[in-house]
């Protein structure tokens, strides 16, 4: 198992390099030459060239990328030109807030979707099933920032129960987490339901019932443990969606996370900061997907056996 994990980590390195290159390349294409906009009006060609070198911006794209990655490994993502501070510091200042929001939303999504999906599947074609399907479809189809604004309107502006923005106190996370969680819940409910429906048709549940296992134990123990396997596989993409969705939600709720930081960086053309944020975001996501993959192995003995070989 340990060897498998190590192998997966090593295999991840080329993926990470490729991902960061794609992002670096795209951001490099962005119009606007920072150096010439930074340089004083009377700077000569040679001055500009020297500045370029100092900022690590000389050479072709591959040379610059190699240098960038080399610096990244030393924990240096360059300077944020708009904030006049190292990108890595700015990123890690904001990152915990985004993580908190992402995990808060996934927690809410799981709390809603697993029971809802199970009761939809076990009451197949009943009103519970119908209602949960309508709800999950709405969750999937609603633009999350719109839901966020509606929640602000209802719970902060009209009822005054919860804050509409900010951070630092617990109640501040409730609305953004619900907003971001709703979309994930829609997806997860559907997957839980269809996975449970698939499992409830399996012969081994009949075996369990024939042994005299009580119906709720059949569902909670025998069915759910099998149904969880496909749910875990989409958990990674759920987290990806949550992190991506966080970009807009952070803007709506003025949540001081990386998503809002990235958008702001692009708006002021602080490409160093934007590139750093997106690359770090992606590295984090890739690592999480790997962890999910390993968790998957623990849930299914068939896969675990495959890996330990």
């Amino acid at each position: 198992m340990l060897r498998y994990i190590l192998k997966r980590f090593l295999m991840m390195i080329p993926v990470l390099l490729a991902v960061s290159f794609v992002v670096y390349f795209l951001m490099d294409l962005a119009p606007g030459d920072i150096v010439s906009s930074m340089a004083p009006a009377d700077a000569s060609e040679a001055d500009i060239e020297r500045m370029r070198e100092e900022l690590g911006l000389s050479g072709n794209i591959f040379e610059r990328y190699t240098r960038y990655i080399g610096n990244l490994l030393r924990g240096d993502l360059g300077m944020s030109l708009s904030m006049k501070r190292p990108v890595i510091n700015v990123f890690f200042e904001r990152f915990p807030a985004t993580l908190k929001l992402a995990f808060g939303s996934i927690f809410i999504a799981l709390v809603i979707s697993i029971p809802l999906g199970i009761s939809a599947a076990t009451n197949h074609r009943s009103w519970i099933d119908g209602t949960s399907m309508v709800l999950s479809m709405l969750g999937l189809s609603m633009p999350s920032f719109w839901l966020g604004l509606l929640l602000i309107l209802g719970f902060s502006l009209k009822l005054g129960w919860l804050p509409s923005g900010g951070s630092g106190f617990f109640s501040a996370i409730i609305l953004p987490a619900i907003t971001l969680g709703a979309a994930q819940a829609g997806n997860l409910t559907r997957i839980t339901r269809s996975s449970m429906l698939e499992v409830t048709r399996q012969d081994y549940l009949r075996t369990a019932r024939a042994k005299g296992v009580a119906e709720n134990v059949v569902i909670r123990k025998h069915a759910l443990k099998n149904a969880l396997i496909p749910i875990i596989t989409v958990f990674g993409s759920t987290l990806g969606n949550a992190l991506g969705g966080a970009v807009a939600i952070e803007t709506v709720f003025s949540w001081p996370g990386v998503g809002r930081l990235t958008v702001a960086a692009i708006n002021v053309r602080d490409m160093n900061l934007a590139t750093g944020c997106i690359i770090m975001f992606t590295i984090f996501l890739t690592l999480t997907l790997l962890i999910v993959d390993i968790a998957y192995a623990f849930a299914d003995p068939r896969i675990k056996a495959q890996y330990s070989r």
Partner: protein, 333 residues
Amino acid sequence: MKEKDLILDLQDLYVRFEVEDGVVHAVNGLSLQIERGKTLGLVGETGAGKTTTALSLLRLVSEPPGVVECERLIVDGKDVMALSQKELESFRGNDIAMIFQDPMTALNPVFTVGDQIAETIAIHENISQTEAQKKAIDMLELVGIQGERADEYPHQFSGGMKQRVIIAIALACQPRLLIADEPTTALDVTIQAQVLNLMRELRDHYKTSMIMITHDLGIVAQICDEVAVVYAGNIVEYGTLQDIFNRTKHPYTEGLFNSLPNIRDRKAELNPIKGLMPDPTNLPQGCPFHPRCPYADEKCKEEQSVKWVSDTHYIRCIAYEREGFHIKLEEKR
């Protein structure tokens, strides 16, 4: 008839499934009695309602879409139709157990086989988890698997081994009545014989009454005391092993025997029963077998009734009494 010690007394079982495309009449008025310690073979083609009958005995037919009705269903003195959900749970696996057809899918892939055997013991016997595990290992060894394999998962076992595990689960609490639903169909021929022998040994060891569901007349000959031939959800011929094999009376049973390959004459052509099982959503009037029956006449399209041939042997056929009726069995047994 004299009073018998019955392990199973089933009277007029009807099971239908109400699905979108219509009503499937799976079992139609089936009655069955089994004496304690005897083994009954339930024989018939796929779709004849054998498995549904078996599941009804455990009240495991999913309702809805299924609807189960019967006059009387008594297993080991218990009125099964009157049991509460709680009572049913302690009834299943303890008084009655079932071995399913496909060992590949009948075990839960995410629990060890030891856990799956121990679970049934823990439910029905008032013992600790460790004791249940210990008993589970004993059961494994009883069915010929090393005890240390209790910690392994189903995917680490072969088909025959899985079926042994399932037998261990079924017999773990020494049920009075064991139902085996085509227990060897999914296995290789060589493994089939081993599993069948094991089942016979254990049956004799625990003195379990048994229902053996199969379409294999060879298995019936090896293991059964009585045979019920099922067609379209009802018994068409019932009798002792001797009655059915040597004094065959029903045209359908005749057809089953004639469709067996003839070992003595390898050149002989197979002689299968013509036509298909009737559509269970739309059963024919009268005798359901009449469209395929070589002896059927106009009357068979209207009625059918039970005729007792002897004390132990009955058939559901009216052509039997007609003049000139004679079953033509090929000589191959």
